[in-house]
Structures are given as C-alpha cells and as structure tokens.
C-alpha cells in the first residue's frame, strides 16, 4: 500500500515546551489510522503541522508523496478536515455552511449542489438544512462540522477529536459514518483520547505521549506488545496476604492486587488462566462472588507503555 502521509523526525517547540519530539509517522492509503494519546500529548499539534497551519522546527512532512506547504493547493484540494472545535458560520444555515465550505474546493455549481445534498444526507441533517447552527444540539452541530469537512469527497480525511462532548447516539452515527467514508475509498486519520472509539474503528493505531510516538500497529499488534494478555477480576469478601502471594505464584500470573473486596489478577500468555485461579480458590475453601475475565484494552497497553491511565 502506498504511503499517503509521511512524517519524519518532526520537532515542534513552544518556547521551552517540546510539543513534538522527533516524531515519525507513516499512514497508508485506505487506512483508518488512529492517533491515540491523552490531552496535551501532541495529537492536534501533529495535525496542524501536517496541514501546514503551524510552523515546525525540524522534520519533513509529505502528503500524497509531495512536500506539504501552505500554498500546496493541489494537495489541499484532496484533504478534508474536521477540526476539534466546531468551525461554522452561525449566521448561515446548515445548507449554506456546507455549500460555502464545499465551494472552496468545488467550483461547478451543479456538482456542488449534489455533493452538499449528499453530505447532508450522510450526516442525517435533512430535517435541519434550513436551520441556523445556533439552534442545533451539540451532537447535530458536530455532524454539521463533519459535513463541512467531507462534503467535497476528499481522498484524505483528518478528524481531530470529532466526538468530544457528543451524546452516545450521535457518537455512534459519527463512527458509523467514518467507517462508511473509509469503505467509499477515503483514508482517515482519527485523533482521540477515547480508546473505545479508536479500538472500534481504527485499522492501525499510534499511541503517543509527550510528543513521541510510543507504539504503532494494529490493535492486536499493540496488545501483543505488552505482557498482559488477560485481566481477571473476582469478588472475594476476605482474603489473606498469604493467598495473594500464592496466587501470584500460579503459572502465567504476573500480578495480583486485592482491594475493596476485589481481587485483580493480571496474566501474561497461557491458556485457562481463569480455571487455574478458580481451582485454587475452591481448593482453599475461599468463597467468592462475581467473576470477570477480560482481554487487555488499549488502556492496558497505554498503561503499560506510559505508566499512566489514558484519561487522567
């Protein structure tokens, strides 16, 4: 697959603060690429540098194989951007807003009208096309924001946290829409600090923190990078420290923490780990309640790589 975006050795400083520290990234055609990281990790800065909105101190950025500059109009024509903040004119109607932004890319009026109507249908704003943005709910406003960014059918769509402060219904609609855009042929770069979203839609993910790319791969590849392969959680009314130590000695168990009547066990590799733990509890006459077994999430990946929770 051809690389659509290539970022090499990118350094961006805000006075003393290093926002991007020799950051590298390659995004291939047809991907939904997730940039995952906590607030302040450098996701938006990366996007703004990529779009030539921000100056940077060092590095190169290539889009569609060409160097990206502020006056790279041909490249910009094939890029659609959905900004983190809603960027629409309050005084124009939904239809007019989409038409205005689409018109910055598409000159032909007939074609534009068709594209605007398709975009409105795509985000489900048919009933609201004559309304002003001020009258829309937060979720509908986000959908309008997306429509303004994708109406011209770009090859590369950059979405910077498009679901912030959106209700679950609108969020699902937006995520489904992104997957549809990808099926229609667009490459999507999706930044978020919501790991569930990234896990749900992204085909490849980069985890970044403090301006660095810490890990990159599919979600399965990322999970294989860490030793955690299973999280077991068991409700136990009372448990001695001796038992905790013995549980730690079971095969494939690398951590066991007892807190608030919950025993949390981390396992690395192996099979039937839950059965081994439950057998131990039964053999030692330890009564227990509800039992959960979960595969590791991206949060576990992030926790293990950075030593902190994704959402601080």
């Amino acid at each position: 697959m051809a690389a659509i975006v290539e970022i090499e050795n990118l350094v961006k400083r805000y006075k003393e603060l290093v926002a991007l520290d020799h950051f590298n990234l390659e995004i291939n055609e047809g991907e939904i690429f997730g940039l995952l990281g906590p607030n302040g990790s450098g996701k938006t800065t990366t996007i703004n540098c990529l779009l030539s909105l921000l100056t940077y101190d060092k590095g190169t950025i290539r889009v569609f194989g060409k160097q990206m500059k502020p006056d790279s109009y041909a490249l910009k024509h094939d890029i659609g951007v959905v900004m983190q903040n809603v960027a629409v004119f309050d005084e124009l109607t939904v239809w007019e807003n989409i038409d205005f932004f689409c018109g910055l890319y598409i000159k032909d009026k007939k074609e534009r009208k068709k594209l605007v109507n398709e975009a409105i249908e795509f985000v489900g704003l048919e009933e609201f096309s004559k309304m002003n943005p001020k009258k829309l709910s937060g979720g509908l406003l986000r959908r309008l924001n997306i429509a303004c960014g994708i109406a011209h059918k770009p090859k590369l769509i950059i979405m910077d946290e498009p679901t912030v402060a959106v209700d679950p219904q609108s969020r699902n609609k937006i995520l489904e829409g992104i997957q549809q855009l990808n099926r229609d042929g667009a490459t999507v770069i999706y930044t978020s600090h919501y790991m569930e979203e990234v896990e749900q839609i992204c085909t490849r993910i980069a985890i970044m923190d403090r301006g660095k790319n810490l890990a990159i791969g599919t979600k399965e590849e990322l999970k294989q990078m860490i030793k955690n392969s299973e999280n077991i959680s068991i409700e136990i009314p009372t448990l001695d420290d001796t038992h905790i130590e013995r549980i730690k000695e079971l095969n494939h168990v690398y951590s066991a923490v007892y807190q608030n009547n919950q025993l949390k066990i981390g396992c690395s590799g192996g099979k039937h780990n839950l059965m081994h733990v439950l057998n131990y509890l039964q053999e030692n006459n330890i009564s227990f309640g509800r039992v959960y077994s979960e595969l590791p999430t991206l949060n576990d990946v992030f926790l293990e790589i950075t030593g902190k929770e994704l959402r601080d």
């Binding site: 909105l53 100056t55 109009y73 951007v81 004119f89 124009l92 007019e96 932004f101 018109g103 910055l104």
Partner: protein, 378 residues
C-alpha cells in the same frame, strides 16, 4: 472563488446582528438624537435675528475686541449683533430683564456672562472663542516669526471671507450641520467593525473558522479581496441610507452636490474597511484587544473631527494642524464642508487623494501581514 466568497460574506455579514447594530443602526440613532437635541436650534435659525449684547469695558487693553464687535454690529441686515457699551450695573440689569443675551467684560481678559443656554448664547460663546484663538495664533506668530504676521492675518482673513462666497443653493452653513458631517465620518470609520470581524474569521490563530479556511485550497489574497469588497458594498449602502435618512426624513440641508458626496462616502467607507482589515491582521493580538483598538481609534478620530464638540477641528487646526490633515474623520468632515462652501474642488480633491492614499497604505500593510499562512502557535 471570489464571487462565491463574496456571496456568503455578504449573507453572513448582513445577518450578524451585533455588527449590524453598530454599523447600521447606531449612526441612525445618533443622528436622530442630534436632530432632537438641535431641533430648537434649527427652528431658531429660520427666524434668526440680531443678538443684543452688552459690553462692559474695564480698561482699554482689549480695545481690538470692542472694535471687532462694532464691525459685526452695523445697521446692515446680515450683521450679527446689536451692541450696547455700558457699565456693569446696567448690563447686569439688562441681562436680568432679558434685554440682552449676554455681557462681554472686556479687560485684561475677556469674559462672557449669560443667563441661560441657547443658540444665541452659543453664538456669543463661539464668537469669543474664535476671537481668542485667532488672537493667540497671531501673538504666537509675532513671538516666533514677526515677519509672517501679515501672511497669517491674510490667511485668517480668508477663512472669514469664505462666508462671503457661500452659494445659497448649496448646503446650510448652520454650525450644527457640522455635527452631521462628523456623524457620517464616524459611520464611515465604523466600517472597521465589519471588516475586523471578517478578518478575524480568516485567521487560523484567532478562530476555528480561520483554521478551516486556512486548510482550504484558496489563495488568501482572493479571499481577503472578496471580504473587503463585501464589507465595502454593505458599508456604502449604509452610508447611502444614512444620507437619505438625514436629508429626506430629518431634512438636514447638505446641499446639492450629491454625486460628490457619494464619492466621498465611498472613499470614507473604503478607509473604514481598510482600517478594520489592518487592525484585524495585526499578529499576536487577541480578538478582544483588536476590538478595543478599533473602538478607541474610531472614537478618538471622530471626537477630533468634531463629533462631540464642533470647535474641536478648529482647535486642532490651531494647535496641531497636521493631525487634521491625517485624521480620516476630519478629512471627511472637511470634504463635506469644502463641497458646501467652495465653488472649486481643490480642497475636496486634496482630501480625497489623502484618504485614498491612506487606504492604500493600510491595504498594502494588511496584505503584507496576512500573506503568511503558517503560525507559530494556534
């Protein structure tokens, strides 16, 4: 692209209520208030008669003033005053009985005493102020350059003589009309609020809209030009509406040189728009600060053009004349004045050229500042 942006810029600007109020409604409201405030003055002007005034000379140090008063108190129909030279006691009694409008006490200093406010009292006050300003000017010239006194007197005399050349078919020479000139000038400058708003929406470091527009494949110069044109069109229409309101509804006499006035308002509006683009384009300043700068600049320039005190321009002319040559509001006011007073267009044309040149400078500086498309931080 130009017309696409122009179309939506027009729509968006017209629908922005806050901006519409300041640029469209505010001058209308202020004009109405001026009209109501000066209503009696206008009516009085129609039945204007000679002003009875008493003069009390305490010594002969300012006999020149008494002589000038006498020259304005002739038997002629168009003379200004009926002057009575008397003692203090009789003068005060006359003022109390409303036999005279005011008393000039002429001594080391010249003072004016009036019983109430009104048009006649204002005329006396303005007369005295003008005399004192002229006297100060001449005294200053004597102390600095005695040889230039005659030239100065000639210039000052010419200023006075302009009244003799008034074509009655043109605008009223009522001093209150000057306030309406200043109002139109202020309205032209208020175009900066329109263009400031539009310019901020173009800058990625000031608004999300600016970011979105910054990543679009459009040349910044084209976008700025279309935004400039939309603001200019709207503002010019506002000025036309204001002129119609003042002349047709409020019956303010601006004379009959309408095409020239439209040209003047077009140039004035262009300057206002250019000012807003310029302030909006200044880097590393927040939108709030830019609005503050625009408001301050508009108010100061308007004040200095005589919006709140009609003698302000004259005062500046005597103290810091270059400011009147560079203050766009003063240039607009002076152009209206020149259109209504002079037969030739020399002074009007000079003002127009100055205004156009300043507009051009602001435009070039704005393009220079906004041509950068990348920002150090957003």
């Amino acid at each position: 692209m130009f017309f696409h942006t122009l179309k939506y810029s027009l729509k968006s600007t017209v629908r922005t209520k806050e901006i519409t109020f300041w640029t469209l409604l505010f001058p209308f409201v202020l004009g109405t208030l001026f009209f109501l405030a000066f209503g009696n003055a206008f009516e009085s002007t129609e039945v204007f008669s000679k002003i009875p005034v008493a003069v009390v000379e305490t010594d002969n140090k300012n006999s020149a003033f008494s002589e000038i008063l006498k020259s304005f108190s002739t038997e002629a129909e168009d003379s200004l005053f009926v002057t009575t030279f008397t003692d203090e006691k009789y003068a005060k009694q006359s003022l109390k009985n409303n036999d005279v409008t005011g008393i000039f006490f002429v001594g080391d200093e010249i003072t004016l005493t009036v019983k109430e406010d009104g048009l006649y009292q204002t005329v006396l006050k303005v007369f005295l102020e003008q005399y004192q300003q002229t006297e100060n000017t001449i005294n200053e010239i004597i102390s600095v350059n005695p040889s230039g006194v005659q030239s100065a007197i000639n210039v000052l005399s010419n200023d006075t003589n302009y009244y003799n050349f008034v074509d009655t078919a043109r605008g009223a020479m009522d001093p209150y009309v000057q306030y309406f000139y200043a109002l139109i000038a202020m309205s032209c400058l208020y175009a900066c609020f329109l263009s400031l708003d539009r310019t901020v929406k173009l800058q990625a470091d000031l608004s999300p809209l600016g970011q979105r527009r910054g990543v679009a494949p459009t040349r910044k110069l084209t976008v700025i030009a279309s935004e400039f044109m939309s603001c200019l069109l709207i503002q010019f229409l506002v000025e036309c509406a204001l002129l119609i309101y003042l002349t047709v509804i409020l019956k303010i006499d601006f004379g009959n040189r309408i095409p020239q006035m439209l040209l003047l308002m077009f140039f004035g509006s262009a300057f206002g728009v250019a000012l807003g683009v310029f302030i909006g384009a200044i880097p590393r300043i927040s939108e709030g600060v830019k609005t503050g700068i625009s408001t301050s600049v508009c108010m100061i320039l308007s004040f200095c053009s005589g919006l709140m005190f009609s003698g302000m321009r004259l005062l500046i002319e005597h103290t810091f004349p270059i400011f009147n040559r560079l203050n766009p509001a003063a240039l607009i006011v002076d152009s209206f004045y020149a259109l209504n007073v002079f037969d030739t267009y020399e002074r009007f044309a000079t003002n127009m050229i100055t205004l156009a040149f300043m507009t051009l400078i602001l435009c070039v500086a704005s393009v220079f500042m906004t041509r950068r498309n990348k920002y150090a931080s957003l």
